[in-house]
């Protein structure tokens, strides 16, 4: 048993437990808190994949900004526990079953594949997943998509104000 496998096991189990709490919690605030812990454990998994920059962004953007947005909306709407569970309609039962079906298909397919992490030279290993390498990639090869994303964020910002404001 090596340390990496043990860490992966701990983070994976905690991620799945937190995700299970997100979808089973009765009150939205409990769901939101479970989602925060899911994001933190996922950031740990990202670090195990040598993606430490993305892990930091995950904590800053997801666990920080997006979850604050969620909590503010829950607070504004003053949502308590759901008075009644959703009725088990046919669509709902079929939807839940199809999620399990997709999981079974994916598990069987992925169980047959063998994929190992790449062996990297010392030079590549030193650059992999660093802010410098990702920044270089973004500002050379992916410059146009990056600018498109900034435009998208601007549109989302204006759109959110227009949609949520009662009178303009």
């Amino acid at each position: 048993m090596n340390t990496e496998l043990v860490l992966f096991g701990v983070f994976a189990v905690m991620t799945l437990v937190s995700a299970g709490l997100v979808i089973t919690a009765r009150s939205p605030i409990n769901s939101a808190m479970a989602l925060v812990s899911t994001f933190f454990f996922l950031a740990g998994i990202y670090v195990l994949l040598w993606a430490h920059t993305v892990a930091v962004m995950q904590v800053l953007v997801y666990a920080g900004a997006i979850m604050v947005l969620f909590l503010f909306v829950i607070m504004l709407l003053n949502l308590g526990e759901a008075a009644h569970r959703g009725r088990p309609t046919v669509t709902r039962i079929l939807g839940g079953a199809s999620a399990f079906g997709l999981l079974a298909v994916l598990a069987v397919t992925l169980g047959r594949t063998q994929a190992l992490p790449a062996q990297m030279s010392a030079e590549v290993q030193g650059k992999f997943g660093t802010m410098a390498a990702i920044g270089e990639s973004i500002f050379t090869t992916w410059l146009l998509p990056f600018e498109a994303v900034s435009l998208l964020l601007l549109v989302a910002m204006v759109g959110a104000v227009v949609v949520a404001k009662s009178r303009i």
Binding site: S31, L35, Y62, L69, F70, G86, Q114
Partner: protein
């Protein structure tokens, strides 16, 4: 060294849990949280494949870290989606007084 398959299996499980939540839960906010779960599963897949391929098959900056850049873009799009989605939830709550997806059926015929 942990096989990439384990990471992909974890991502598949996370995606299916998110999908289950989206299809089964009635609270619109929880549905949004489950969408975030699915987006995170996709991110995990991108990063797992980036680790699987390393920097092979690319020039000095051609495809280096393309998985990480994709994950970055997914995070940015998720932020935009959350802002717009929550604004819509607030607008719907203001006009109907409920965020239950069963009550929102004006466009259903």
């Amino acid at each position: 060294m942990v096989p990439i398959t384990y990471y992909l299996l974890l991502a598949a499980a996370l995606f299916c849990m998110g999908m289950f939540g989206v299809l089964v839960r009635t609270n619109a906010l929880v549905v949004f949280m489950c969408v975030e779960l699915m987006l995170n599963a996709v991110n995990l897949t991108f990063l797992a494949f980036a680790r699987m391929h390393g920097a092979l098959g690319g020039g000095p900056n051609a495809v280096f870290g393309v998985g990480h850049v994709s994950a970055f873009f997914v995070i940015a799009v998720a932020a935009a989606e959350a802002a717009i989605g929550l604004a819509i939830v607030i607008a719907v709550f203001r006009s109907r007084g409920s965020v239950n997806v069963d009550d929102i059926r004006t466009m259903k015929h």
